[in-house]
Every structure is written in C-alpha cells, then in structure tokens.
C-alpha cells in the first residue's frame, strides 16, 4: 500500500514538475524519480547511493538504548547528523534549566509546535510537517547530568527515529551549548536532499534555532522587523535584495525533518 502510494505520488509530482520547466520543476522531478524508485523497489534511491551524508559520519557515538529500533535506524551513516554550538552570556544553571524544561523548546525552535512532558523522562513532541500536517512522536531522556548534559531518543516504533544530546560548558565568554542531533525523517535522506535544494539546510536551521535560544535567554525577546512599516515593495527588486529575499522566503517554508527539526 505504501509503495503503491509512492508510485501515485511520484507520477503526479513528475507530471507537475515536467510541466513547470524551471528549477523548482526540476527538483520536483528528482523527488518524483526517488518516489517512483521507492514505489517500485521498496527501497530509498539516495539511501542506496552510499549516503548523501557519508562525509558527516565522523565516528558519531549514538546515544540509543539497545532495545529500541532507533539505534538501528540511526546507526552507522544512516540518518542526518547535525552538530552546532552557541555561546550564551548567562549562567550555566539558567541555560540548562531552560532547555531541560522541554516545553520551552518551541519558543525558539521554529518547526516545533509543542512538547509535553508525560511522565518521568518521557515527552511527546509535535512538529510542523509539510502543508499544514503534523508529525508526532514520543521521546525518552536516556542520559542526564545536571548542568552538563541532556541526551534523548525517540521511543521504539516512532514515525521519526531521532536521538540528540546537548552539552553545557562554562567558558570565558559564557555558557557554551553544543547540540548534536540525529534523525531519520519521513522520506529519509531524499526528504533532506530535497529540503537542501530548497535552501533549508539542517545545520543552518539548527544554528538559527540556537541563535533564537541565545537571544531569548540574553535579552528576553527575539529581535524582529515583522510588522514594521515599509514603503512600496512593488516593481522589480534590486538584484541583491531579490537574492536575499528569496533565501529568506525559503527559510520560512516549513518542512518536517525530525526531532528538533
């Protein structure tokens, strides 16, 4: 059934993409081909190519409990790996506490709708998916050292296999927060590849999340210009503005890519 759906979706996407005859259409055709391949063989096309992300393996130590399938789904070079860090001019205890209260995360993680703590160590995550849909999963804290480390992973059988850890260190310039995420999003690496073509690079996304985290903690708000007055934007944009504007639009586009993204 799932393969059949892939075939239908692939055919529709290919038709639409071929009609457009532009960059977006081309991207759609690439995505369509992957869906058709998956439909026909039950395998992920890019997955088989040895991993679009092979270069990011770097001997990542996976935090996963051995009874879950998360280890299997994220082991080796599978899944997407993201590492980013930020330094926050606030005491380590305050930074740790804010993150440890997972309910706070959607305040700065743009694609998260909500996180609810269910029972000790288990939380329910809701992320914004494509086209107004939602992706939900449960995660469990598998490692926690006060003011030092939080590690989590999705429960067995989740739609998204995800694991992550955050490290907190005191430095001369403030509290250094290092985030390491792994996820296997719906659509696998194909999803991330397409996302990348659209300008939504997971590292940059996480970097922007961490930037908002820092700004929220340091200043109590996130700077914005949305809603400020401007003059007429009509007519052709300045070429450089057009470029910047395009990138910005893409960054606003939501595309579910897993745990904290």
């Amino acid at each position: 059934m799932e393969r059949w759906l892939s075939m239908v979706a692939g055919a529709m996407l290919a038709g639409w993409g071929l009609q457009r005859r532009d960059a977006l259409g081309g991207t759609a055709v690439v995505g369509a081909a992957a869906l058709l391949y998956h439909g026909a063989t039950g395998r992920g096309a890019i997955y088989d190519m040895g991993g679009a992300n092979g270069g990011r393996r770097r001997g990542m130590a996976l935090v996963a409990d051995r009874y879950s399938d998360t280890r299997q789904r994220l082991g080796g070079g599978r899944g997407i790996h993201v590492e980013e860090s930020v330094t926050i001019n606030k005491p380590i205890a305050e930074v740790f506490r804010f993150w440890r209260n997972f309910e706070n995360l959607p305040q700065f993680m743009e694609h998260l709708d909500s996180v609810a703590t269910r029972e000790e160590g288990i939380s329910h995550w809701v992320a914004k998916g494509p086209a107004g849909t939602h992706v939900e999963w449960d995660a469990r804290i598998i490692n926690e050292i006060d003011n030092k480390l939080i590690g989590w992973q999705s429960l067995e059988g989740s739609t998204i296999a995800t694991a992550g850890s955050v490290n907190f260190d005191e430095t001369e310039h403030g509290t250094r927060v290092r985030v390491h995420l792994q996820y296997d999003p719906p659509g696998g690496k194909v999803g991330a590849m397409v996302a990348k073509l659209f300008g939504e690079e997971p590292n940059q996304t996480v970097r922007e999340d961490l930037r908002r985290f820092k700004r929220l903690l340091e200043t109590g708000e996130i700077p914005t210009t949305e809603g400020q007055p401007t003059g007429r934007r009509s007519m052709a944009l300045h070429p450089s503005a057009k470029r910047a504007g395009r990138v910005q639009d893409m960054r606003r586009r939501s595309l579910s890519t897993g745990a904290v993204r």
Partner: protein
Amino acid sequence: MKAVCWEGTNRIGVQRVPDPTILNPRDAIVRITSTAICGSDLHLYDGFIPTMERGDILGHEFMGIVEDVGQGVTNLQRGDRVIVPFPISCGNCWFCEHELYSCCDNSNPNAWIAEKFYGYSPAGLFGYSHMMGGYAGGQAEYARVPYADVGPFKVPESLTDEQVLFLTDIFPTGYMAAENCNIQPGDIVAVWGGGPVGQFSIRSAFLLGASRVIAIETVPERRRMAEQAGAETLDSMDPDVFERLRDMTGGFGPDACIDAVGLEAHGPHIDYYYDKAKTMAMMSTDRISALRQAIHSCRKGGTVSVPGVYGGFVDKMPFGAVVQKGLTIKSGQTHVHRYLPKLLRHIENGDIDPSFVVTHRVALDDAPRMYQTFRDKQDGCIKVVMKPH
C-alpha cells in the same frame, strides 16, 4: 506617516506608510523632531551597499520625543526627549557588556546574511540594508526603536536639537576615530575627508590633545570649515599630498592618519581610476584611494584610523607598508553608547557646539532633492537636517 524611502540606486522618494507600532516588549516609538542625512546614506543612494530593498525607510541619525514604550522599558516614559544611537544594541550580550555596542550579538534579525559577508554579524542598524537587520530608519515622522531601555539617551531641554542631534552618529564617530589614534601630546594628525565625520574627527583630535591637524579635502567650503577649527588644509586633488605632508611634518610623517572618506573615494592618481574601473566592472566593491594614501603617508609605528565606511572587498591594499612600517589599523562602526555621557558634557561645557556643521535645514518632503544636493556637494552642502515635526 511620511517616510523617506529607498526606491533604487539614485532614487529616493517620500511615501505615505503605516505608523510604526510596538513589536517587542523592549521597543519604544519616537516622534521624530530632527533627522539628518548621513554621508553613509549616500553609499545607499549610490547603490554601493548590498541587500537594500525597494521601499526601505532610510535614516539613522534621528531624535525626538518618546511617544510610547513597551512593557519591558522602565527607564523611559512618554514625553522624554531623546537622541537615538544608530547601532541597535541589546545591552546584554558579551559584546555590549564590553562596550562594543556596534558589535551587538543579538540585534540583527538577519544575522545569517551578514555572516555570509563577514563571518560574524555586527549589530543591527537603523535604515541600513537588510544585511544589517532591515530595520526601518528614522527619516520619517515616527520610528520604532528596539531595545529602547539601552539605546535612547535623554538630552537636556537647555540644548537645541541641532546641538545634540549629532550625538546619534557623526560626533561620536569622529571622536572614536580620534580616540583610536591614541593621540599623545604634540602629535600631528592628518584627516582625509572634510565631510561631517572628518569635521568632527578634526575637532575631536584637538579635544584629545593633538598639537596640529592637517585636513585633506578638495571642496573649498569644507576646507574653510576645517580651518575654522584650527586645522591646516591640503587639496586632496593635489598630486603631491604625500610630499606636502612630509614637508609639513619635517620629513617625519603624521603620527596618525584618519580616513574619513570611505569606499567612494576620489583622487587624482591612477589608482583611483583603477578602483573605479574595477568597481564598475563589479570586480571590486570599494574604492580605497584615500585609505592607500593614509597608509602611505603615516609615520613609522603610527596609527591609521578608519571611520569611513567600507562594505566589502578592497583591491591593491598596500599591506606591505602596514607591515614594514609597523602601523596599527583601527576601525569599526561606532560604539555610540559608550561616548554619550562624555560628549554631552563637552557640549554642555561649550567645548564644542556640533550645530556648526549644519548647512541645510529642510522639510522631510525635500529629501529626494537634498540627497542629490548633498551627494553632488552643490550649494555648499555639508550637512542636511530635516524637521518632520
């Protein structure tokens, strides 16, 4: 409200736009009583600064009356008369805590664009491109001021707008340029550019103890203004500026050189035409003939201080002279907040009256014409102040 908008290279318009509103708890709205056109606005006018968008509201030198404050602002209230520093600074980050206000880590919503250009993002600025935050500027009837508990600085009623307006940018900018020269008693300071920042650099160099200041400027009325401050002057189109500076300093060279010209320098030498050709062919972004001459002219072990705005890449930078003569180069967007109490005292004491620089007083509606007049240095134009209210 009415606002001065960027409509493309060489195109400025006055448009009706919505009034600004409080968007964040630490915002304030200021009703603008005086606002100036800065020399650096001319770089936007001439299309040298990337990431401008049609409709962007210009202006970063403005002051007025606090009209409204967000719930996070407790040190200001409606009716306060304030000047607003041009860099937007949060006051909380490591950089603000170290008084590097123009390097604020948090105020640029488009930090990621600036990071592509510069590695790390400086502070957001009012009305100065999307790379610098895309904030609406203050050449308008009202402006929204973020982090209003940090930026706006109350000024006494006893001083006129024109006496305090330039605390927003050009006075501290000239002052920081001079301070960066680490002036010792007896020092000779050479200043390239007799525009407003150059004029304040000259006066600040004297305030900080320079024995002589030599201004290099081609426009006669600007040279006269420099001479009124006690500077000696040279014509920048004179092909022998280096030789003349050498003579005037007994073959020693100026102790410090200030480039208050920036990326649209003009000069009499072949290197100017080289820069011009390269920037026109989009192979380089900035013209640096003033900076080259400053580096070449500076004495060994001296300081080159650069308040002039550069945006991107420069070509044929005489870095050998920097290394071989052991020069110190200091620059940066001005950390305005750092200088306000001290400079206000200088104004109150009568050490300096910044209103000397104003040559044109006009209405907001006159902005398009005045950008041109200022850019083309017509009509003796050195500084334009507009009165929206």
